[in-house]
């Protein structure tokens, strides 16, 4: 028997958890951690199953995906015949995502046991929704066609909405949740349009299998297809918080840190990347789209990184870095696809993107969760009130250091390998389009910035003198349920990169059209990497960044204030803190433009349209009152009217009668 046969069960278990905890658990789990055990158990089960399935897929990976689907809607007859399927589509990419999602998810739920302990009543809601999220996220990963993917895509959005607004009595949380939903909704609309294009273009079939095998069967020409893929990418932009739809993610930090770790770092925001990677066979047909993707990715990477430079909120910094890292992935995928269009041998981009996706999931989850541990300890997210915590939170500080090194891209930590690949892909693009010079530069600078702000974060938090004595006194190391997951993640954050040496690329790439992975052993790859000058460039960038951070926040050799003192510096840092005015811009559009038009419409409705109706009726009644006054009550006036009437009728008869 094969595990894949049972893959459809993977999303079911967490769903069961959701139903049980959410609807049956009312008083059942009052003093049972709000049903946490069930959530954990079910997630764990699906973890085991997905590991099995993934292992199977990766080892026996011949490149042909495992597909299993049942007809959801069948419409035939007339000129409209189409079928929507619900099913699972398992190839190596799916396997990768399965591992990432279910693994991180499991650790996060376990971690929550400690982190959410004080929440009391609300816990049940938390565990219910997070189980639902895990379920639908796994469903998204397993989806076998675009429509199904879109359905789960929307549902993860819902869960994100619910969890960002978990502390819904906080106005800030409520509005952040709304913002997240609306901004991603804009992306979703583009996604829908993309779906329409594909649906019509492929004669009502949205199955991956069909589309990937018959890309040429698309009706409507390449321009239309380009438009369609662009729209699909639009969806990704929304979900993965890319420029210009990035602004919801920092606000999303209003949710519990566990949620930020799971949804807004490790899994959901990856859906966009996954979408692009998934629809690669279609996308590569449209190099223009790929170029756009690469550019948006590259720009977002640096754009978001800048905002992380001077932010003092520990979670916000991580949020910006998430945006920036996602940019990396899009840069890689875009570049790879763009090059592929000209030279169908090139697969570094695709590998880099997906590889970085995996690594980032691990180290970013790690970073968030350790940040959570810190917050849990000092009950604040403001780094200005931290400092010197490494004495109190030994484990946390250690694992977080690993995370920082990893994201900064210091060999041999995992981040290094994937980021290096990303930059390589971007660089490779130069020979096809000079725009990639810029993008490569972006990538390099981003690497520098990343290293800088991550270590700025670390130093501010753990090193130096405690800046808030009171908080420091009460700070204490997280309980085992929290640090054990951290430790596990730390191991991965350190080690997951080595997958590269042991054939990540060659296992992942097959099945994607006619990619021909160059089979290579670890040694060759190692030499390949370390004989490449680019590698040293990126390492240098990282080291520089760390060094600067060290000088500024550890040694205090360079006073940070210097950068903000000058008028230029001041305005610059304010601009950064104001997120380049995007927040204001969104509010302005929402409140002034949209709400303004709404008010106008309302006015038209009440005054003009309804006014007309009421006016008519009022006029009729008034004329009635007027006419009745003619009825004076004097009989002779009636007689007079009669006589007049007779003469009028004579005249009328004469006029219309056509007599004589």
């Amino acid at each position: 028997m094969t595990f894949a046969e049972y893959a459809w069960l993977i999303p079911i278990f967490p769903l069961i958890a959701f139903v049980v905890v959410g609807f049956l658990g009312n008083r059942l789990f009052k003093n049972w951690e709000g049903g946490a055990p069930i959530a954990i158990g079910m997630t764990a089960i699906s973890l085991v199953l997905s590991l099995a399935v993934a292992f199977e897929a990766l080892t026996t990976g011949t490149g042909t995906p495992f597909i299993q689907s049942l007809e959801w809607i069948v419409v035939q007859g007339g000129e409209f015949a189409f079928t929507f399927n619900m099913g699972i589509y398992i190839d190596n990419l799916t396997a990768l995502m399965l591992i990432v999602v279910s693994f991180v998810a499991t650790l996060v739920v376990i971690y929550s046991l400690g982190y959410m302990h004080e929440e009391g009543e609300k816990k049940r809601r938390y565990y219910a929704v997070i189980s639902l999220f895990i379920s639908v996220m796994l469903g998204l990963v397993l989806a076998s066609n675009f429509l199904q993917m879109f359905i789960f895509w929307e549902l993860v959005g819902l869960c994100s909405y619910l969890l960002i607004g978990f502390w819904n009595t906080r106005p800030s949380a409520a509005s952040a949740a709304k913002k997240a939903f609306l901004v991603t909704r804009i992306g979703d609309i583009m996604f829908m349009i993309g779906l329409f294009v594909l649906f019509v273009g492929f004669q009502g079939n949205l199955d991956f299998a069909y589309i990937f095998d018959n890309v040429d069967a698309f009706v409507g020409g390449n321009e239309l297809l380009t438009f369609g893929t662009l729209m699909l990418f639009g969806g990704a932009v929304g979900k993965s918080a890319q420029f210009p739809l990035h602004d919801w993610l920092p606000d999303a930090m209003e949710g519990p840190t566990t949620v930020s770790a799971l949804i807004h770092a490790a899994t959901m925001v990856k859906a966009g990347v996954y979408l692009v990677a998934r629809s690669y066979p279609v996308m590569v047909e449209t190099p223009d789209t790929m170029l756009v993707i690469a550019f948006i990715g590259g720009f977002t990477a640096i754009f978001a990184a800048t905002m992380a430079l001077n932010n003092t909120n520990i979670k916000r910094v991580l949020a910006y870095s998430t945006i920036s890292q996602l940019g990396y992935m899009f840069l890689a995928l875009g570049a790879g696809g763009y090059i592929f269009a000209q030279q169908p041998e090139f697969n570094v981009g695709y590998a880099a993107g997906t590889f970085h996706l995996m690594n980032h999931a691990f180290f970013k989850a790690l970073l968030f969760l350790s940040a959570g541990a810190v917050i849990h300890a000092v009950h604040t997210e403001d780094m200005r009130l931290m400092g010197g915590l490494s004495k109190k939170l030994k484990i946390t500080s250690l694992v977080m250091l690993i995370g920082c090194l990893s994201i900064a891209g210091i060999p041999p930590f995992s981040g290094f390998w994937s980021k290096d690949l990303v930059l390589e892909a971007a660089f490779a693009g130069i020979e096809y389009n000079s725009l990639f010079i810029l993008l490569y530069a972006f990538g390099l600078i981003t690497a520098f910035m990343t290293a800088f702000y991550m270590f700025r974060l670390w130093f501010l938090t753990f090193s130096g003198e405690p800046r808030d004595k009171h908080a420091y006194e009460h700070a204490h190391e997280a309980p085992a349920v929290m640090w054990v997951p951290l430790a596990l993640l730390a191991i991965l954050a350190f080690g997951s990169g080595f997958a590269f040496l042991f054939g990540f690329e060659s296992t992942l790439v097959p099945g994607l059209m006619d990619f021909h992975p160059h089979e290579a052993g670890p040694i060759d790859l190692l030499t390949a990497v370390f004989t490449n000058v680019l590698t040293y460039a990126s390492i240098a960038a990282a080291v520089l960044g760390i060094g600067l951070a060290y000088m500024m926040y550890k040694k205090r050799a360079i006073d940070p204030a210097r950068f903000t003192s000058g008028s230029v510096g001041k305005t610059l840092s304010n601009v950064l803190l104001a997120r380049y005015g995007f927040t204001k811009g969104y509010d302005w559009i929402g409140l002034k433009v949209v709400y303004g038009t709404a008010k106008v419409v309302d006015f038209i409705d009440r005054r003009l349209i309804d006014g007309l109706i009421n006016g008519i009726s009022a006029g009729l009644i008034r004329s009635g009152n007027f006419l009745r006054r003619a009825q004076t009550g004097f009989v002779q006036s009636y007689a007079a009217v009669i006589v007049v009437g007779v003469s009028l009728i004579v005249i009328l008869l004469f006029l219309v009668g056509g007599v004589i």
């Binding site: 419409v75 409209f80 009595t169 609306l182 949209v594 709404a598 009726s617």
Partner: protein, 505 residues
């Protein structure tokens, strides 16, 4: 097994009997309540039976035909196809739940229940009849109970709202009547020529017979007739600018009244277009395509924007109905079979969803004493069930996948893209607007700090007779969202008959 049972007549008969019974029970209103519940449960059972017995093919089933007034060729002609059966099921369901939901009505209870059942009679008649004259009679019969429901159990401004509703829609119906007679007389010679009616007959009101020959009419005549009928229907739907009766009626009507008004009465309009305008006068429909599309899109956007500006929760929901019925209109306007099927499905979906929304509004009125969003806030912890239901309802209404509304909208927009390409951007943009006003409303009403403007000490969460209908509705919303095939398989086979011309784009 039901060949010899006049199941459709029974569908109409039972509520009628129940209504009379309820009116009689002035002595013991409580009994009237139970009687009404029973007599609305029977049709529900019957229609469910119908769903199971219905064979998944086009064409009319369970047809009954009795001569009524031979002088004018009027016959009591009933039948269901895929389009009407969904509506029939919806009607019986909503009336039953609405009666249950108004379990705590005290004032003139027996009359209230009686009127509910009369309303059911009218609505079912409209959805079942295949004779223009009978159709029109039921169409008008619906007005009376709704008028009383608003005028007697309505809000402060009920007098204005009720009479406005009555006259406004009555004018529209009369315009429709003109159209019907035009059809009646102009088709008579054609029918006689084909020997479908005796040569000495004045004509016939049989929809199917008329549909057979109406294509033979002159184009201008077709357009004129279509226009008259169409006007009658769009006022009922309603579409901008003939919609202003709707918000007033909704805001004033009692909760159950609003549920039925939005859930069923609005559907009568779109149903009329699908049942009468399209199959009978297809060429004219093609001429009207652009107009239909434009008013559909306008209704969608206009309604959504108006929602955003409302401070009264119920008024917002009322405008959202306008927006969503605009989607139905757009689906019809595509004049593709996919679009029309989607429109029907959207009608069904909207019926279920809007019922939930109006019940929620009613509960706010009932418990918090106000529906003004600025007065509310932070109620979620106080009334968890109500808040959950509200959120689910709103999510369903903004087209969240997994709920019934999503696929309907998706199919409509798909066919819109199919028909007009990227123009779909215009209507689909409102998907974001819709989300905006719903989420904003939730943020201000149930999230945030607890309001101090109203007394939240004694807020009572949903009672059983409120929870049960809502649970049923939400259950169905999710069921048909996860398993839409059930409904679509009923609907789609009938669509080619509704729209004989293949997709005109």
């Amino acid at each position: 097994m039901f060949e010899n049972i006049p199941i459709l007549s029974l569908l109409i008969l039972f509520p009628l009997v129940g209504a009379i019974a309820a009116f009689m029970m002035g002595r013991s209103p409580k009994a009237a309540k139970y009687a009404a519940l029973a007599f609305s449960a029977i049709p529900l059972a019957l229609s469910t039976l119908l769903l199971t017995e219905f064979s998944l093919t086009g064409g009319f089933q369970f047809v009954e035909k009795y001569q009524w007034i031979s002088f004018l060729g009027i016959s009591f002609h009933l039948g269901v196809d895929g389009v009407s059966i969904t509506m029939v099921f919806l009607s019986t369901l909503l009336v039953f739940l609405a009666i249950l939901f108004s379990w705590d009505v005290e004032e003139r209870l027996h009359q209230y229940m009686g009127l509910m059942l009369v309303l059911e009679v009218g609505v079912l008649g409209v959805f079942l009849s295949l004779d223009y004259f009978v159709f029109y009679i039921f169409w008008e019969v619906v007005l009376i109970p709704m008028y009383f429901l608003i005028a007697i159990w309505g809000g402060v401004n009920r007098a204005y709202a009720s009479i406005k509703f009555f006259i406004y829609t009555h004018v529209a119906s009369l315009a429709m009547l003109l159209g019907i007679f035009a059809l009646f007389f102009t088709t008579a010679p054609l029918l006689q020529a084909d020997g479908l009616i005796p040569a000495d007959a004045i004509g016939t009101f049989d929809m199917l017979l008329i549909a057979d020959v109406a294509g033979g009419l002159g184009e201008m005549l077709q357009i004129a007739i279509f226009g008259a009928l169409f006007f009658g229907f769009i006022v009922k739907m309603p579409v901008v600018p003939f919609h202003t009766w709707l918000p007033d009626a909704h805001v004033q009507a009692p909760t159950a009244g609003s549920v039925l008004l939005a859930g069923l009465l609005l559907k009568m309009g779109s149903y009329g277009i699908i049942r009468i305008c399209l199959p009978t006068l297809p060429e004219a429909a093609v001429d009207f395509q652009l107009i239909m599309a434009v008013i559909g899109v306008v209704a969608i956007i206009y309604g959504a924007l108006a929602c955003l500006a409302q401070s009264d929760l119920k008024k917002m929901v009322a405008y959202s109905s306008i927006s969503h019925m605009g989607i139905v209109m757009l689906g019809i306007a595509t004049l593709t079979q996919l679009g029309i099927a989607a429109a029907v499905f959207q009608m069904f979906a909207h019926g279920l969803i809007t019922a939930v929304l109006f019940m929620v509004c009613g509960m706010f009125q009932h418990k918090a004493g106000t529906r003004e969003i600025p007065m509310l806030g932070g109620l979620a912890p106080k009334v968890p069930i109500l808040s959950t239901v509200m959120m689910m309802g709103f999510m369903a209404s903004l087209g969240l996948p997994g709920m019934v509304g999503f696929l309907a909208e998706f199919m409509v927009f798909t066919s819109t893209y199919d028909a007009w390409g990227v123009w779909v951007l215009v209507p689909i943009a409102t998907v974001a607007l819709t989300a905006a006003y719903y989420l904003w409303a939730m943020q201000r009403s149930i999230f945030g700090e607890l309001t101090t403007k109203i007394d939240t000490k004694h807020l009572h969460d949903a009672y059983w007779f409120e929870t049960v209908p809502l649970a049923v509705l939400l259950g169905l919303i999710i069921l048909f969202g996860v398993w839409p095939a059930f409904m679509l398989d009923l609907i789609t086979p009938s669509i080619p008959m509704v729209w004989p011309l293949s997709g005109v784009i």
